[in-house]
């Protein structure tokens, strides 16, 4: 195709958007509404995923070391733990550090434990992290069998429940996003189809004058593309403003907390890119599929 002809198709597609005012409005509105839904849901899902990831990463095994173990035994034990394939890191925490942490974590009430500073009943501890959070249970079981280990604690029961919950919510999220995506395609392509059905006479006349299918298809293809992109603008603006404010409000409150939300930059640019791409794809797909019906002789 000549560049001149492509320019002609682009001009035609813009003219057509202007001339079919109400239909343009209907199509763009359909894209806008669905992309707002998809966008909001996507933002929530990604943030939930981030929280889940943080929680997962926070899961650790506390290995209580037998008081009978001397320094050499402890070094040997550390080496054995590190040899376990699932283990990522092993950190030593002495019983004095453990007590201090305990006192700190109990706040005012913690002062009562100060009495134990003279005769500390706690054990020295190895804090073990696994490469994959899902391997915590297996690693803890293996560590528990080693010599000089009194117990390997990882929040049995709670961690399993947490992982199940995270897994389930991720799956539900993926299904919902997929469902929403297909609803969006269906809704938008139907709206575009209606606007094109109204123009089937136009397509028929073009064929009678000798226009090839490609020649007819191109302006519609570009029109779908513009409609999709136009429809993505409002959702992007709304979501960017809303997220900016939400982030501004929530981020300071969450400092030091294990729950973190995704930073505005670059997340909102990624969401914007995704929405534009989705709008464009759905617009093009909807119009090309609808025109195809009328291009059979």
């Amino acid at each position: 195709m000549k560049i001149r002809t492509l320019g002609r198709h682009a001009r035609e597609s813009f003219k057509s958007i202007g001339r079919n005012g109400w239909m343009t409005f209907a199509s763009v509105s359909a894209v806008t509404v669905t992309l707002i839904l998809v966008g909001v849901f996507f933002v929530i899902m990604m943030n939930l995923n981030k929280v889940a990831q943080t929680i997962e990463e926070d899961v650790q095994i506390r290995v209580h070391i037998d008081v009978a173990a001397n320094e050499e035994d402890q070094q040997k034990l550390k080496g054995e733990i590190e040899k376990i394939s699932e283990v990522q890191s092993v950190k030593f925490s002495s019983k004095e550090q453990e007590l201090e942490e305990l006192i700190k974590s109990m706040g005012e009430d913690g002062q009562a434990f100060k009495l134990f500073e003279q005769d500390n009943p706690l054990n020295d501890v190895f804090i073990v992290k696994t490469k994959n959070p899902q391997d915590t249970m297996k690693a803890a079981k293996d560590i528990g069998k080693l010599e000089y280990v009194t117990k390997a604690v990882y929040g049995k029961g709670t961690v399993e429940k947490l992982f199940n919950f995270i897994e389930a919510s991720r799956n539900v999220g993926i299904v919902l996003i997929a469902g929403l995506f297909f609803t969006a395609i269906f809704l938008i392509s139907n709206t575009i189809k209606i606007t094109i059905i109204a123009r089937r006479r136009e397509i028929k006349i073009m064929r009678l004058v000798g226009a090839t299918n490609n020649f007819i298809r191109w302006p519609f293809f570009l029109e779908g593309l513009w409609l999709g992109i136009l429809g993505a603008i409002l959702p992007i603006i709304l979501i960017a403003i809303a997220y900016y404010n939400a982030y501004d409000y929530l981020a300071p409150k969450l400092v030091g907390n294990f729950i973190q939300i995704l930073p505005y930059d670059p997340f909102i640019y990624q969401v914007s890119g995704l929405l534009i791409l989705m709008g464009a794809l759905i617009g093009v797909w909807g119009s090309v599929m609808s025109v195809r019906k009328f291009l059979k002789v």
Binding site: K2, R8, S16, E202, I205, M206, T212, F215, V297
Partner: protein, 228 residues
């Protein structure tokens, strides 16, 4: 030259619209196709611009056998043919100029040439001054003139017209006929299906009468021959 040999057309619903037609139309002829409603005139005309395909037989136009023409080649074939309809078939969202220019845009003609040629044909149908108007802003006669301008902008050898005066008042019909006469005088073949008795009987040309899907009459400078 147009040649139909032993052409039959049977629709899927069992109706036989064309029941064995042999006819030859030479370059530069003006031919009226007449006959009662339901006689097969419309099918005859539609087969000429390859909207319908014969069930059997051959239709040759400008050396192309329409019975065997592939669907993908139809647009190319139509570029060498002008078609005018009773209901004008103009693109409602395009101006008079754009409607006519469209037929040249599809063959990717040079923009300069398009502009010059479109203004030429609009001048021929006396609508140069209304080039920027939309079809809805024009009278029926004016719309038909736009449609004629579009049909000849590619300088086709043949123009097919299906009841071009069917929706027009008598005075406007004469205007339209004068334009067709002028086009024919320049050497273009015109095949026109019509119900207009007065026109056929006044502007004398070859008349092909179709009845029950067959040629009932084929006369040079013939009459309409029906009571309407």
């Amino acid at each position: 030259m147009i040649e139909l040999q032993d052409v039959f057309k049977k629709y899927p619903n069992g109706v036989t619209a064309i029941n064995g037609i042999d006819v030859r139309i030479n370059q530069g002829e003006f031919v009226y196709v007449v006959g009662p409603s339901g006689a097969g005139k419309s099918t005859f005309i539609k087969m000429m611009y390859r909207e319908e395909v014969p069930t059997s037989g051959t239709i040759t136009m400008n050396g192309v056998n329409l019975a065997k023409l592939k669907n993908t080649k139809v647009p190319i074939f139509r570029r060498n043919l002008g078609v005018v309809f009773q209901d004008f078939k103009l693109l409602p969202m395009k101006t008079v100029y754009e409607n006519v220019a469209f037929a040249l845009e599809v063959i990717e003609a040079q923009p300069k040439f398009i502009k010059k040629r479109v203004m030429e044909v609009l001048d021929l149908v006396n609508l140069k001054h209304k080039a920027k108007m939309l079809p809805t802003e024009l009278s029926g006669g004016e719309q038909q003139r736009v449609s004629i301008a579009r049909s000849i902008v590619n300088s086709p050898k043949v123009v097919i017209a299906d009841e071009p005066t069917g929706n027009l008042d008598p005075e406007t019909s004469w205007e339209i006929m004068n334009i067709f006469e002028e086009i024919n005088n320049r050497g273009t073949t015109i095949v026109m299906a019509t119900h207009n008795r007065e026109i056929v009987n006044t502007i004398k040309h070859r008349v092909i009468a179709i009845e029950s899907g067959k040629i009932a009459r084929d006369e040079q400078r013939g009459d309409y021959g029906y009571e309407n």
